[in-house]
Symmetry: C2
Subunit: 297 residues, 2 copies
């Protein structure tokens, strides 16, 4: 019989991942802080648990995809957390975009109980979770990675062991987020520069996308800026969370990078301007304010 | 008979563009400060002139692709420059990546002689010039643009009138360069972050290129960083020239953008470190110095 998989956190990512595991024939034991979301999945075959500790009693491998590092700490070390019941031979796989220094600390606490951990954040957003095409960046021991690999293959397409220590997955995801946040700022500046210079922004976007300035961000997000339609997508508050984890990681590793640091400051300014719930491409608003012009086509 | 085309500046871009014009059946009158480069093209059918003024006596449409705005000013207003002979019905087409405020000034001087101007910088590098697949961003009056269009079609593939005033082409190219320079800095920071965190950088590059962090710059330049082989490509000094024109343009338009301004500072630091003749992807060296690590795979 296929062994059970635990899943903590049934949000935009966790719900479709759980569905894919069920479809692949895994018994799945789920926990969610708001129980109603877990009950909804019970109709599709999931078993509902009352706490992370109960999930750890019933499933040897426990996945999670949560809002932030604080939420991961809560399901591991909080009341009813994994640490209360987890033991030798079990693996906690954290797919949250979290803070690597926090992941490293939690891995140590789990190791004291004999349990293993992988940090395995994903990219590809909710669409990738639904279609099972996520890119999964994993940190941890290779034998543990190989044990979980069949499960990863249900959830994603590009699965990479980024390093043999917990934290390597998170660091890779944060390196990714350095580029995402900076590319969004860069696109915002280029479009505001064009607007201020009186260019036709539809034609500018076409010219930019045709050459060395092109980026996945330009392809995915230019239309949001040019239309002024900032429905998320990924919220600016989430981008700030990632930028904070990047800052925490640099502090833990004892260095600092100036461009992403500045981009972090600009995103905090965007939140202060009241746009935290808008798509992260709304960073253009900070540059629009500086230039006194809107970058709409 | 097809009317003659003048070409000023036979560098990496001008030489192949002249060859494509000759191949398309245009008589081409060329001028280059170092005459030997012009003589070399005479063997292929070009007519050699002794000065820009002489080119303007023999060709109604005069193209140029030069090193910088100062070189453009020299061929227009310097001794033996276009202004000495140019007159009504003639068009100067500047394909240099130049300073739009300078282009606007030169257009005014030419207009006083009855001549028209377009600014029409290109992207696509020497390969695009050789293959005739350049992207050409044009600023100027539409009837003038349409007169020159058959010539542009010989040189490039994506030809766009970015605005109906001289300067619009240059502003579009500089918007492009905002993104190129910032994407190079962003890639450098992400790879240095990964190196400092102990990641396998070959796998990191693969993960980054698979998702929202992907960019044309990552595709073209990551291998230079990971191998430490910074043969240009585009020199860092040229990137600094473009960043200076971006700063000049923002000053002329009365605003400032913080990310590209910081990237400009970092590029000047790279030059001060002695790496001006390296490919512009060498900006990673500034971050390597800050982190005390090399981003090599």
């Amino acid at each position: 019989m296929t062994e059970a998989v635990g899943y903590l956190g049934l949000g935009l990512m966790g719900t479709p991942m759980t569905r894919n595991l069920l479809a692949a024939g895994y018994p799945v034991v789920v926990y969610n802080r708001t129980r109603a979301k877990a009950e909804a999945l019970a109709a599709e075959g999931a078993q509902v648990a009352d706490s992370p500790a109960e999930v750890a009693r019933r499933a040897p491998v426990i996945l999670a995809c949560l809002a932030d590092a604080a939420a991961v700490e809560a399901v591991v070390s909080g009341p009813g957390g994994l640490l209360e019941t987890v033991g030798a031979g079990q693996v906690f796989v954290d797919m949250t975009t979290s803070s690597p220094p926090v992941s490293i600390r939690l891995a140590r606490a789990l190791a004291e109980k004999g349990a293993e951990m992988l940090d395995a954040p994903v990219s590809g957003a909710d669409v990738g979770a639904i279609e099972g095409t996520l890119s999964i960046m994993v940190g941890g021991k290779r034998p543990v990675f190989e044990r979980v690999l069949p499960i990863f293959r249900v959830l994603g397409r590009r699965i990479t062991l980024m390093g043999d220590r917990v934290g390597a997955g998170g660091y890779a995801k944060l390196a990714n987020q350095i580029m995402v946040a900076t590319h969004l700022a860069s696109m915002g500046e280029a479009l505001v520069f064009g607007a201020k210079a009186g260019l036709d922004l539809t034609q500018l976007e076409e010219a930019l996308s045709g050459g060395a300035a092109n980026s996945e961000i330009l392809r995915l997000k230019a239309s949001k800026v040019l239309s002024g339609e900032f429905t998320p997508g990924a919220r600016s508050t989430v981008q700030v969370k990632d930028l904070d984890y990047i800052a925490d990681s640099m502090e833990a590793l004892g260095f600092s990078l100036p461009v992403v640091q500045l981009v972090g400051t600009l995103y905090r300014e965007l939140i202060d301007m009241g746009h935290g719930d808008e798509d992260h491409s709304a960073i253009v608003r900070v540059f629009e304010k500086l230039a006194g012009v809107e970058a709409r086509a």
